[in-house]
């Protein structure tokens, strides 16, 4: 994550506001972006987890509202080719653009070292290998091969053959490859895995389903993980709503990297101009102050969004302002009503589609616009629950796939989160089992999960066996003995349980 934290988000000057699909937290983050602070700095200034902030900026970048740039872009003259050209707006696009400059973000010395050791290969190729090697775990199969999600079998194969001809070690037989040989082999293996998965009908269906679920789950999780929006964000949102479709667009500070300067009234103390882009970033304290100013004076935003008053020289300025305000307030109220109606419709649509995640997001917006509405809060709670359950179902699907493909750490996490949303014996049990198969199992957590499963189905011998095994592996012999005995009492015929009891006695 450290590499991600060093990115600097800045607003895209020519971006158009895209309807209402900006969440409170997103609007909040948008309002704070100054084109100078890195993700890490913003996160610490806003009191958010860097991961969370990264996810938000990621989503915004995906919609073209902001761009992410690396602080050390100049150290790498040729930006690496982007292999994934997934459809615009999909999650992976954001990932690609996010992970692309991993190599760039490193100190130059490290790059130089990584590119050494096989001078027989062209620098361009070495760079491509190192780059790809570092991103292997982050790219999905489609991104890796550089094909669209719906690519035909022939397209997948053609992409694979091209990759093989570039990355198979035999292409460089007899050349001194150094550490590149192992990297080439690993890269090749990953390409083969992608090819094999995507060219077999069944495995591809499974993988596609997994990918869809994974993406949906990720979105839902982000949604659920957002805390209640803070007043500043809410205010920003209201302003956004109000200024919707009014020129200039509401996301005013888009003349990056220069932050916006309040245009009026002139008496208002202007925020300190940010340092020029070439200067080193401000220290954290200065940055926090700058942000605080921006947040406190977020009326700057509104001012920037409101067009200059029309010329009416013979009316006193007070009157003119008053009339103008009334005019705008009337317009705002009407627009708000329309938006509320639209939002209501979106909620019911989403619920009908069985898409509680979208319904939840929209309801939250509604709740912010109509803060004291108990009926709305009830609905919110209900939809939140439905989202939890839906997410849990999705996570179960995801976890099954991960477990089948022996990605136990991921599977354990997915099962565990599924169990949180929708407690079930299976989820708890498999979360524990997968955890046991990971590199360094957290036995305490495994035991907790297994115990939850046992509580749900106290007469299931298998669950007690799992719990007993965990105790045994954790070295808690007495507890292990107890659980295994109970399991044996429940299923006296089980060979498995007998085997584990024997093992226990030998311990």
């Amino acid at each position: 994550m450290s590499a991600l934290e060093s990115f600097i988000p800045s607003l895209v000057p020519e971006a158009q506001a895209q309807g209402l699909e900006v969440e409170p937290v997103e609007a909040f983050v948008l309002a704070c972006i100054d084109g100078q602070s890195t993700v890490g700095q913003l996160a610490s200034a806003l009191g958010m987890a860097p991961t969370q902030l990264w996810q938000v900026t990621d989503r915004l970048a995906r919609r073209g509202l902001l761009q992410l740039s690396s602080p050390q872009r100049d150290t790498f003259d040729a930006p690496p080719k982007e292999p994934g050209h997934a459809p615009q707006g999909s999650l992976e696009q954001a990932h690609v653009s996010g992970v692309r400059p991993v190599l760039e973000g490193r100190p130059p010395a490290a790059q130089a070292a990584e590119l050494q050791g096989a001078e027989a290969l062209e620098l361009e190729l070495r760079r491509a290998i190192v780059e790809l090697y570092q991103r292997l775990d982050e790219l999905d199969h489609y991104q890796l091969l550089g094909v669209e999600d719906g690519a035909s079998k022939a397209e997948v194969k053609a992409a694979y053959y091209e990759a093989v001809k570039r990355y198979h070690p035999d292409r460089y037989y007899g050349k001194e490859l150094g550490h590149f040989k192992a990297k080439l082999e690993r890269v090749f293996q990953r390409f083969t895995e992608a090819h094999d998965t995507l060219t077999r009908k069944r495995s591809r269906e499974e993988y596609d389903a997994y990918l869809t679920t994974l993406r949906r789950n990720r979105r839902t999780e982000v949604l659920l993980s957002h805390p209640a929006p803070d007043p500043a964000a809410l205010r920003a949102l209201r302003e956004r709503l109000a200024a919707e479709s009014l020129p200039p667009p509401p996301v005013a500070p888009r003349t990056s990297p220069e932050p916006p300067r309040p245009a009026a009234p002139p008496s208002h103390p202007a925020p300190a101009p940010p340092p020029p882009a070439s200067q080193p970033p401000l220290d954290l304290k200065a940055r926090r102050q700058a942000l605080a100013r921006r947040l406190g004076g977020s009326d700057a935003l509104r001012r920037a969004s409101i067009p200059p008053p029309p010329a009416a020289p013979r009316v006193s300025p007070e009157q003119a302002t008053d009339a103008l305000r009334r005019h705008f307030e009337g317009q705002q109220a009407a627009r708000l009503q329309r938006q509320l109606g639209e939002l209501e419709r979106q909620v019911s649509d989403a619920l009908q589609r069985d898409d509680p995640a979208t319904a939840l997001r929209t309801l939250r917006l509604l709740a912010q616009l109509k803060p004291e509405d108990p009926a709305l809060e009830q609905r919110l709670a209900a939809v939140q629950h439905a989202t939890d359950v839906k997410l849990a179902d999705g996570l179960l699907v995801q976890a099954d796939y991960e477990e089948r493909n022996q990605r136990y750490a991921e599977a354990a996490r997915s099962f565990e989160r599924a169990a949180r949303g929708k407690p079930s014996v299976k989820a708890f049990h498999h979360a524990a089992l997968c955890l046991l198969k990971t590199a360094a199992p957290d036995y305490r957590q495994a035991a907790r999960l297994a115990r939850c499963a046992v509580e749900l189905a106290p007469n299931d011998a298998e669950l007690r066996l799992t719990l007993g095994r965990i105790f045994l592996e954790a070295g808690l012999l007495q507890s292990a003995e107890q659980e295994l005995q109970r399991a044996a009492a429940l299923a006296p015929q089980s060979e498995d349980i007998k085997l584990w009891l024997t093992r226990l006695r030998r311990s």
Partner: protein, 608 residues
């Protein structure tokens, strides 16, 4: 650039090919044959014979003639294939010092790689004679279903023969390379390879970009032409037994004659409907009465005798399709490889199973060597754009507590590849673990092939199950398997490359290489001498013929008498050198002889 030859080291016949420009060509041996029998013999005089010359004397010298050594290569003494070979082989098989197999020829025992190295060496000499230059690099083919020990032993054989085997490739894959190389083929094909001793089926995808990807391969390393021969032999033996109550199998020479007759009959029945097997004086009874074997064998009978063998190959084809997750109608072409595929019943079975006529464009005996030569050239020469993606034919894993086999790399995984798994200690206070590296498909470790073992020590003393060891398997592009074990707590690691497991220790291979070098020199000298001797004999004959005439013309003069005396001395010295088998001296005399001959010719011309 070094030339790389491609050698198909077959069970019954071997073949060598080389890249000539953009095309691979088979190199004929000195007899003009494109294949050479994989037969090695030691004569009474202790001379080694390889190839056709060894085959010709195999009946009279059955006990000291090794055929089909490939069936034994890389096998452990204590296995069923070796036990069955013991029953049928005419030569002596004994247990070696490492539980491996040794072959007894006269008063010496040879390891199987040593025997195979003699065949490889012969092929190398065939290539060198043809190319007129030394050859040191080769790509050698093995049955796809060979396990790592068998491949390693084949590599050892190459090393003993002084050949750097730069790659071992699978026979059906090689056939596919030859079929698709440089032709822009874009198809999914099946290769049905029924050789002398082994059977393989491979399914490949050939991309128009020059990428050959093996999807799956399966086979049986103990199913081949020899088994068909054995059916005929059994039938002949049983018939003889019924008629004369004599088991002719007990007589080694009779058995060898039966074997030859069976093979011949089988081959003939591919083109004719009926053939006569005639072995006069096959055996003599105690009463000094000689018995003859004479029977006629029809194609129908042969097909009946071998029905189940062919059925077995079809079953394996079916399995190959299942593993490749393909239906028979997704196969766009079928290649037939190996001499056995000339049998009409085999062709019928293949046609029926794949629902298409097999491809007839490849030569079943030569296609494998050609493919090996292509792969060799593609590796060392950048201009050939071809990449071969092969698979590991057997699963790889380790033995776990309770003698179970825990698979790490599944069968038919494209190499290079690597997989890791976490294991834990199985006993309390266990501070060392032994990693037994195995290959095979059985859940029971004992049924699989042991490839190597190593010990990881220095683990923390703790209750069992607490210390974790990560085991990583890796197969690199060269097919070398390496295994690493790492204690996740201390990061202490141990690893091996699975190499020295062909039943030979490194030292043994080394000493065999030395032995072969000596043999190489010895053999070359021999040839040189024979060559010099031949030239000398020709010259001598001419000189002898001209001597009286020369004597008549110039004998009167002093210088003439001198010249004749000198000529007689040269002839004497040449004779002596020939008797001593002194090549160097003989070569010296050859020059003298040639000069004398030129002088004599001049004298005779002028005198006449």
């Amino acid at each position: 650039m070094d030339r790389v030859i491609g050698i198909d080291l077959g069970t019954t016949n071997s073949c060598v090919a080389v890249m000539d420009g953009d095309e691979a060509v088979v190199i004929p041996n000195r007899g003009g044959y494109k294949t050479t029998p994989s037969i090695v013999a030691v004569t009474e005089a202790g001379k080694r014979l390889v190839g056709h010359i060894a085959k010709r004397q195999s009946i009279t010298n059955a006990e000291n003639t090794v055929a089909a050594a490939k069936r034994l290569i890389g096998r452990k003494w204590n296995t069923a294939p070796v036990k069955s070979a013991l029953m049928t082989c005419s030569y002596g098989i004994v247990e070696g010092p490492h539980g491996d197999v040794r072959i007894q020829l006269r008063d010496k025992t040879y390891s199987v790689p040593e025997i195979s190295s003699m065949v490889l060496q012969e092929m190398r000499v065939v290539a060198e004679d043809y190319l007129g230059e030394a050859v040191s690099k080769a790509v050698v083919t093995v049955p796809a279903y060979f396990n790592d020990n068998q491949r390693q032993a084949t590599k050892d054989a190459g090393a003993i023969a002084g050949l750097d085997i730069i790659r071992i490739i699978n026979e059906p894959t090689a056939a596919a390379l030859c079929y698709g190389f440089g032709k822009g083929v874009d198809k999914t094909i099946a290769v049905y390879d029924l050789g002398g001793g082994t059977f393989d089926v491979s399914i490949l995808e050939i991309g128009a970009h020059g990428v050959f990807k093996v999807i799956g391969t399966t086979g049986d390393t103990f199913l081949g032409g020899e088994d068909f021969d054995a059916r005929i032999i059994d039938w002949l033996v049983a018939g003889f037994q019924d008629e004369h109550q004599i088991d002719i199998r007990k007589d080694r020479m009779a058995l060898q004659r039966l074997r030859d007759a069976a093979e011949k009959a089988k081959c003939e029945l591919s083109s004719v409907r009926e053939t006569e097997i005639n072995l006069p004086f096959i055996v003599s009874t105690g009463r000094n009465e000689a018995l003859h074997l004479q029977r006629s064998l029809s194609r129908e009978t042969l097909e009946r005798l071998c029905e189940d063998l062919i059925e077995r190959t079809v079953d394996i084809c079916r399995q190959a399709l299942v593993e490749a997750k393909l239906d028979a109608d997704e196969i766009e072409d079928v290649l037939l490889v190996g001499g056995m595929t000339r049998m009409p019943a085999v062709q019928r079975a293949v046609t029926e199973f794949f629902q298409r006529e097999p491809n007839r464009g490849v030569h079943p005996d030569e296609v494998v060597a050609l493919g090996a030569a292509i792969q060799g050239a593609a590796l060392v020469d950048d201009k050939h754009e071809m990449i071969l993606l092969d698979v590991t034919p057997h699963a790889l894993g380790i033995m776990t507590f309770g003698s179970y086999f825990e698979e790490l790399i599944p069968q038919n995984t494209t190499v290079p590849t690597s997989r890791a798994k976490i294991f834990t200690t199985s006993r309390d206070h266990q501070t060392a673990v032994k990693i037994l590296v195995m290959q095979g498909e059985s859940k029971q470790a004992g049924d699989n092939e042991l490839l190597g073992e190593f010990v990881l020590t220095g683990l923390r003393s703790a209750p069992k199950g607490q210390v974790e060891i990560e085991v990583t398997f890796e197969i690199n592009t060269d097919g070398i398997v390496s295994v690493h074990a790492k204690d996740l707590e201390t990061q202490q690691a141990q690893s091996i490359q699975v190499t020295a497991s062909s039943g030979l220790t490194t030292d043994e291979v080394q000493s065999m290489i030395e032995g072969a070098k000596e043999y190489m020199v010895e053999r070359r000298t021999d040839e040189e001498f024979e060559g010099a001797k031949q030239s000398a004999e020709t010259l001598l004959a001419e000189l002898e013929a001209m001597l009286p005439e020369v004597d008549r013309v110039v004998g009167g003069a002093d210088f003439g008498r001198d010249a004749v005396t000198k000529a007689r001395q040269v002839i004497e010295r040449t004779q002596a050198a020939m008797d001593r088998r002194d090549t160097a001296a003989l070569k010296e005399q050859l020059e003298q002889l040639a000069r004398t001959q030129r002088m004599f010719k001049g004298v005779v011309a002028r005198g006449g």
